[in-house]
Amino acid sequence: MRNLVYVFYLFFIAASCTKITPDQENKIVVEAFLFEGEKVDDIRLTKLLAYGGDDTIPQPINDAEIDIIWQGTSYRLENTNDSGYYNYPGIDLQVIQGEIYELKVNYNDFDISALTICPPKPQNVSITKDTMKLVFISLIDSFLTGGNLTPPDPDSVIVSWPNPNGEYFYVIAENVDSVKENIYPDFVIGLLSFFFQSQPTTESTYTFFDSDFTQYGKHEIRVYKVNQEYVDLYTSFNQDSRTQAEPLTNIINGLGVFTAVSYETVPLYVKKE
C-alpha cells in the first residue's frame, strides 16, 4: 500500500512539472538568397520586431559571424554596412547548380543554421514574341474613358519552359532600360497601385498581359527555378489568427529563409502602339 501511494506521489510530481520554453522574442530573422553564377551578397540578418518593445522597425544585426559551408570549406562573410547585409568578397565561393550550401550563424552565442541546394537552371525558355505594343493612356484619355484603363486592343505574350515533373518556377519582369517612361499618368499609378507580382507555379507557361506592365522599355523576363523553402514563404502568407500557424522556415533555431535560385532570361520590348 505504501508503494502504491509512492507511485501516485511520483505521478503527481511528474505531471505537475512544466518545461521552460526558450526565449522566442530574441529569434534572429535570416533573409539569404544565393543566385546561381553570382557572388554571395544577398544575406541579411535582422532582429524580430517584438511586440511590446520600443522598436518600430526591425533592427539589423551587423556583428554576427556568418559562414557558408561549401564542399567542406567554410567561407566567412563580411558585414559591409550597418543595414544587416553581409557578403563574401572573394571569388572562390561559387554558386553552382546541384551543389549543397550550408549557412551557419553565430550571434551572441546563439547558433542557427540552414541548408539549401542550388537548383538547375531552367532550360529552353522561350517567348511567343519579343515585343508588346501598348497604347499610351494620357491624362485626357483617362478622364474621357471614365477611368477605364483597358487598352482597346489588348496584347499578351506567353513565356514557356519545359516542366515535365511539375516543379516550382517563378517568373518576374524587370525594366532594364536606363530611361523609363510610364504608360499611365503618375497620379493613376499612385491611385490604383499597379503592381506586377508573380507567385511560384508548377505550370510550364506564364502569360503576360498589358496590365502587367506600367512602363515602356526593354524588359528582362526572368524564369527562376526555386526550391521548396522559397515556395514556403508564399504558403505562409495567409496566417490565420485562429489556427495561428507559424510561417514555414528552413532555418534551424531562427526565422526566415536560406535558399538558392537559378534563372534564365529572355528579352521583351514594351513599346508604344
Binding site: 501516485f8 524580430l48 505550370e203 522559397y230 490565420d240 495561428q244 500557424a245 507559424e246
Partner: protein, 799 residues
Amino acid sequence: MKKLIGFIFLFGFTSTLFAQFNLQGKIEDEATGESLPFVNVVLKSSKKGTATNVDGYFTLFNLPSDTSTILISYLGYGLSEFKLTPKDFEGQRVFEIKEQAIELKTFEISDQSKQTIKLTEDASRVSLNPAQLQNLPNLGEVDIFRGLQLLPGVSGTSESSAGLYVRGGTPDQNLILLDGINIYHVDHFFGIFSPFNAYAIKDVQFYKGGFPAEFGGRLSSVVDLTAKTGNAKKPSLAINGNMLSLNGVIESPLPKNLGSILIAGRRSYTDFIQSPTYNNLFDNVSEQDQDQQELGFGIGGFNQVEPDFFFYDLNAKVTLTPSDVDVISFNFFSSRDNLDNTAATTLGTFGKLETVDKTNWGNDGYSLKWSRQFTPKFYSKAILSYSKYQSDYELGNNFYTTDSLGNDSLLFGTKTIQNNTVEDVTFRYDATYQINQNHTLKFGTWITNNQIQYLNVLDDSINLQDRTEAGTTYSFYLQNRSEIGKLTTEGGLRGSYFTPTSKIYLEPRLSFNYNLIKNFRVKGAWGVYRQFINRVILENVFGGSRDFWLLSDGNTLPVSFAQHYILGAAYENNNWLLDVEAYRKNTGGLLEYSLRFGGFDDTNENFDNLFFRGTGVVNGIDFLLQRKVGAFTGWIGYTLSKVDYTFPKINQGKTFPALHDQRHEAKFIGSYTLGDFVIASTFIYATGKPYTAPVGQYYINLIDGSERQYIHFGDKNSQRLPDYHRLDLSITYNYELSFMEGNVGISFFNLYNRQNIKYKRFFLQEFDPDTFQPIPPEVVETDITLLGFVPNFFISLRF
C-alpha cells in the same frame, strides 16, 4: 504475439464448478414492463451474482437452494428483494422492480434510486441514469452528454461542444452507439447539447478507457446508449417543455401482447419565438462568428438580420416479443440543425447584393435487431444498422440587377462550399455463452462499410478537397470473463481487416478487478485500440459542422493507434464511494489539418500536404468521492492530467500541450431532496487551457523586390487562458396528481455570470488610433468569452 494471445485466454479460464440450482430470469420495470439492462442480481446470502444483458435476461448459477433470496439493484430504482420458490426455477421467471426505494438498510448493497451515476466494478466503466439528470442544472435541455461531462476524466469546460474529451482524447475518438447505430456527430444547437433525447433513453454505459474487445473502431471511449422500448402495459404520454423546445414521448403496447412502441420527438420553436434563453445562447455563438467574420474568414455583418434557426430530433422504436426468449426491435433516429443567416443589401436602383450563409447538419440512423436467449447459457443478438451524418455549408455572394418592374435577375455569384457525408452500414453479431458461474465467453463480428464524400470548394473555382472514399472493416472478437473468488478478469482479442490498407490489426485487451479486503478493491486494464476513420477539425463556432470525416488510407491519413494503461482502487460501502484511477494513454497516427495555403496556383497544389501527423501521450489520475444515499447525494470529482502532442512538422518538432490539455479540473455535484423539492447544484473549477500567442513580426524581401510581413508565434500552446469556473443551480418540484405526474423547475447556468474565456483574439496595432502616427507595433488582445448567466424554465407532464 502468440504467447500473449495464449496468456490472455489462460488468464480467463480456470476450474469449473457445477450448479445445483440455476435461475433463469428477466428483469422488467413494474410500471411499464420495460426490460432493464445491466441490472445487478445477487444472492442475498453470499452477495455473489450477475448482471442482466441488454435485453434484461440473466442466469444465476449454483444457488444453494431453491428457496434462496435474491437482491436486485439498478440505477434509479430501489433495492428489491425476492424470496424464490421451486416454481421460479421452471423456465424463465420475470422479476418486476420499481423506482420507489425499499428500506433495506442492513444490506451491503445500496439503494440506487437517487443516484445519477454508478461506477461498476469494471475499471473505467460508469452507468448513468438519464431519468435523474432532469434534477441537475441544465443548459436548456436535459442532456446525457452534458451529464457525462460532470464525471472526472471528462472535460466539463467545453461549453461549445457536447462532444466528450475523455482522458485526453478528442470527441471523434469516442464510439457512440444508439441501439447499435454508430453516431458520428453529437453537436446539437451549436454544440450546446447533444441530439439524444434523454426522455427516450433508458440506459447509458460509459467506458472512459480500457474497454473490452467487444467494442472497437475508436481510440478513447465508448458511450453505449439503449433506447427505451416503450410502455408494454398501457399507453402513456409525456410532454416536456423548456425555453428552447417542446418534447413529446408517446409509448404504447402493441396489440395481442406483441410488444411495444415508443415515439419521441423534440423540436425547437426558435424560428417562431426567440426566448431570452435562446437569445442568450445564440448571441454568444453569433458573437464568436462575428469575430470570425471581422478577421476575414467570412463575408457578412454588413446588414444585420435575424437568423433563421431550428433543430429537431426524432426517436422511434418498435419492439416485438414474439416469444419469451425473442426480442426484435426496429429503431429509428434522426436529428437536424438548420441555420440560415442569409442577408441582402439593396444597391440603390441598380440591384441588390445577397450574402448566402447556410449551415445544415444532422444524423439519420436505422437499426434492426434480433436477439434471442437460446438457452439459459447462450444469448446472441444480430444488428443491422445504417447511419448517415451529413453536413452542408454554403457561403456565397450573389449580385442581382433589378429591372424597372422590380424583378431581380442574377448577374453573377460566387460561393464556397463545404459538404461532408459519412454513411455507415454495419452488421454486428454478438454472442454470449455463460459457461458456468465463473466463466462467460463473448464472441462476435462487426462488419462496417463506410462511404464518405467531402467537397470543399472555394469561390466556385478552387477545389481544396474533393474526395470520395469507401472502405470496409471486418472485425472479429473473442473475450472471456472469469470470476474466481475475489478476482475477476476479462481477457479478449479483437482482430480487424481494413480494406483500404489491406492489413490485419490485432487489438488485445485485459482487465481485472480484485476485492482485496472488505469494501476495498483494486482494478486495472490494458488494451490496444485502432481507429480507421478520422474527423478533421476545422475551427468553426457554429456547431462544428465544418469538421469533416475521412477514412484512413495508411499514408496521408494514418490508421490511428492507442494503448491504454489503467490502474486504480476503490473503497465502497453503502453510503460512500471513493474511487481513484491513474491512467496513461499513448496515441499515434493523430491528424491535424491546417489551411495554410497561399494564393498561388491553387489548382495545382497538393492539398494532401495540409495534413500533419503526430503522436500523443496522456497521463492522468481521476478521483471520485460519491455520496450515494440520503437526502443529500452527489459527488466530487477531480482530475489531474497532462496531454502532450508531438508533430514532426509542427512547432519545429517540439512537444506541445494539446489544445484541450487542462492540468486540474474539479467538479462538485450535489443534489438535496426536501419533500417534493430537489435542489441541485454543480460547480466546476479548472485551470486554463493552452493557446498560442504572437510574439513579434518580421519582414522578408522576396526575389521580385516586394516585401512580405510575417507574424511569429511563440511555442505552440505555450500560454494558458485564465482558470475556468462556473456555478449552476436548479430547483425542481416533483408533483403527482390523480391523472398525471411530472415536475416543474427553474435552472440557472453560470449563476454568478463568470466571464470564462473561450479564446483570445489578436489585433496588431501599428498606428496610434488618434493621431494615425506609427507606433511600436503591439498586440491588442480581446477575450472571446463563453456563456454568461443563462436562466431556464422547464416543465414536464406525464400521463
